[in-house]
Each structure stands twice: as C-alpha cells, then as structure tokens.
Subunit: 241 residues, 2 copies
C-alpha cells in the first residue's frame, strides 16, 4: 500500500493529522508494508518571508476579526494539538513563506530522509518558533536529520527542487485538493482533513483488504457469439443465444 500526504509546514491541522495517521499506523499490523510520502502544498504561496507579525495579529488581519478572537481561535487549535501530544507556541510562532522549506524537503525525500525532514520542519515551526524560511535555519535543520549541509546550502542558492514542489502542487490541483492535509491511498482513495485516528484505522484496513483480496476475473465473453474451445473431453463449439 502507498500513502501520499499533501501538507504544508505552517498548517496546524497537517501536523495534527500526521500524528493521528501515525497513531493509526502504529497499531496497524501491516504498517511495515506501507510506503508513505509527503507531497508539497503551500497554503499561501504569496506569504512574505518574514511578515514580522505575531500569529494572533496575522490571523486577526487575515480573517478581519479582533485580536482577542484570533488568539482564542489559536488557543483552541493549540488544545487540539495538545490532545495528540504536540505543543504549539502561537505566541512566538513566525508565520512565513514555505517554498524553500518544501524544496529542502523534496531534496530530503530524494535522499531517503523525507519523513524526518517533514517532521523536523513542522516541529521547528509549531513548537520551536523557528523562522523556517531562513536559509541558515533550513541548513541547520537539514543537518539535524543527517543531510549534507553543503548540499542544502548549494540548493538553496539556486532554484533546485522548485520543479519538484511545483509538480506536487500541480498534482494536487489535478486531484481537486482544496485544503490540507490531504491523504491519498493507493492513488485511489482520498481522505481530506485531519480525521480522527479511528477513521485512518478504518481506511487502512479497507484499502489493505481490497489490495489483498483474491482478484476475481471478469468474463468478457460476448453474448451471441460462437465459442470454440477444447477441454479434456474434446473440442467443442458452443453457440450462445
């Protein structure tokens, strides 16, 4: 089975949904046979690299609500994160553009460190209040998951892996993705949003069962035709009517 997860590093429900899927996978008996890949998705491709607002101001401006309302919404998100063991520090979180972070994540995936880099970037943003558009920060985080810092320094200087990020986003558009997280199982089944863990558990079992059921041949013999074949009894011509 394969699972593709479209998500952004500044998406509160993406990190929560990731933890719920991971919990479901931990309890799933066939999780060793599952390939999971993270796909790039930018919630706000036009986001400034460092808007200098705190997250409550940012949300209040975006939604046209009061600072207190925005803060309350963020706190509610933080509580949901806490339920799956995550710590969101909205007071010091630095909202920013994630394009370069996605480029580094695509490079990491190529080096077999896609999962580690995705986790590290989410934690850096939500928990550690790091500015994940900053190149020095990205290089440091990449080094922490075992990637070559010189490689990352070089790729950030030019537009390496931009094409990979754009390809993921184009694929999301073709699939009709409206928001993230967005989970696709075996290129066939979609789950939208940070669904409860039990939903992922059900989906994993369903897709697994379907993948492993004995294939049933569908007969394409046409009606009203003459069938000629041989059996151990001899050769026959059978005319259907």
């Amino acid at each position: 089975m394969n699972i593709e997860v479209w998500s952004d590093f500044v998406c509160p429900f993406c990190y929560i949904g990731k933890r719920r899927l991971e919990s479901a996978l931990e309890q799933f008996q066939h999780s060793d046979d599952i390939e999971l890949a993270y796909k790039s998705y930018e919630l706000d491709p036009e986001a400034e690299v460092n808007p200098g607002q705190n997250m409550h101001e940012y949300l209040a401006a975006k939604k046209g609500m009061s600072y207190e309302q925005a803060k309350s919404m963020n706190e509610s998100l933080g509580e949901q994160a806490a339920e799956v063991g995550l710590t969101y520090h909205f007071d010091s979180m630095q909202h920013t553009n994630t394009f370069d972070a996605h480029r580094v994540a695509k490079y990491a995936a190529e080096k077999g460190k896609g999962k580690e880099m995705t986790e590290r970037l989410l934690k850096a943003y939500f928990t550690d209040s790091e500015l994940i558009s900053d190149h020095a920060t990205l290089i440091k985080l990449a080094g922490e998951v075992g990637l070559d810092e010189d490689d990352v320094t070089a790729l950030l200087k030019v537009d390496d892996y931009a094409i990979h990020v754009r390809a993921d986003e184009e694929q999301a558009r073709q699939l009709g993705v409206q928001g993230v997280p967005f989970f696709v199982f075996n290129e066939k089944y979609a789950v939208s949003g940070a669904q409860p863990q039990e939903v992922f558990t059900e989906v994993l079992q369903k897709v697994w069962d379907e993948e492993n059921e004995k294939p049933v041949l569908q007969s394409l013999d046409p009606k009203k035709s003459k069938t000629t074949y041989c059996t151990d009894e001899g050769c026959e011509t059978v005319e259907d009517d």
Copy 2:
C-alpha cells in the same frame, strides 16, 4: 497491458485462437505496449507419449463415435484452421503427451523465446506431423528458434521446469479455467475460447481504455465526522451531520 494465454500444443482451437488474437493485435495501434505470455495447460495429462493411433481413431475412441464421424469432425476443424491460414494434417498428426513440450516452452520463455517456441511447437504438431514428446524432436525444434540445444538436452533428462508447468496449471485451476485457449487481460478480464477476431479487437480496446483513463479519486471521508483542514482562507472545522 499484459495478456496471458493458457493453451496446449495439441489443442486445435488454441492455434486458431492464437491466430485470431494475433490478427487483432496486428491491427491494434498500441500493440507495442502489450506483453503477451503463454501459460502451460495440458488437455490430457495422462496421454501416452505415443499412442500409435491416428487422430481419427483417437477421436472415435475418445468420443465413442464411428471413424467416419470422427474424421468428419476433424475435417471441420481443419476447415476452421484454414480460414485463419493454418494447415492441419489430421491424417498424419501424432497425438501425444505434451508435458515435456511445456517444460521446453517454459525454458524458452525464460530465455525470451516463449512466443517463438510456442508457435514452433503448434506448427510441429498440427502442420508438420511431428511427435512433440520425442526428445530429439524437441531439441531440434528448440534449436530452430535459437535456443541452446545442449541446455534443452540437459533439462529434458531431468525434471527441470516441471515446477513452472505445474504452477501455470495450478493458476489455471484457481482461475476456474475449464478449457483452452483461455485469455486473461491485465489479471482482470477473461476471454474463454477461440473467439472471433473482432471480439479480441473489442476487448483490447476496452482494456486499453480502462487502463489509460484518468484515475478518479474516491473520497473515503466518513459521514458524521468532524473534518479539520486548512485552506488558503485559514483553518476550519467542518461538522457533517
């Protein structure tokens, strides 16, 4: 697309069906992208290596009919073969056990000569009146399609490739194959018997179209659940009822 064809070298409709499928493939525009493999099937695993009867006697005894009736049935088969350009010499045909011929064909398939060997064995039996259980004959035929005669000599001495023949036959049993030829497209669609060429043409197009249609994601979002996701407008919790 892949096509698997279960057939036996002494099966009159298998050779005819093979020609009809080949004609359909010749006219099919995507035939270069099709992988075709022949699978072993013995119509009569208990057949003697050389029963010494001619085919009219053999059929008369098997079916409990007169020699003249059997001869007439065989002539009718010969006419159907002639319609697709094949020559069946029932008067001199030597009915026999095909297990060793299947073993050689499985070896040939491994060497990339499966199609050539299958064609050569069918022609040897139906047109050239060869005894295709005879080891010297099998070695000669294998040599004619470019196989190593020493290899074939060696494998015939022991039971090499018997396991491959048995595996094909076991697979046929699991698929519920009752007679041959039996055609399976993409492990999914079955056509039984030497259907008319236009049936194969239709099936090829249908399977091709299905294989190449844009996959449509099926949503597995459960009803009555709380969906949480983020869009470019912000993060939302949507409660379905």
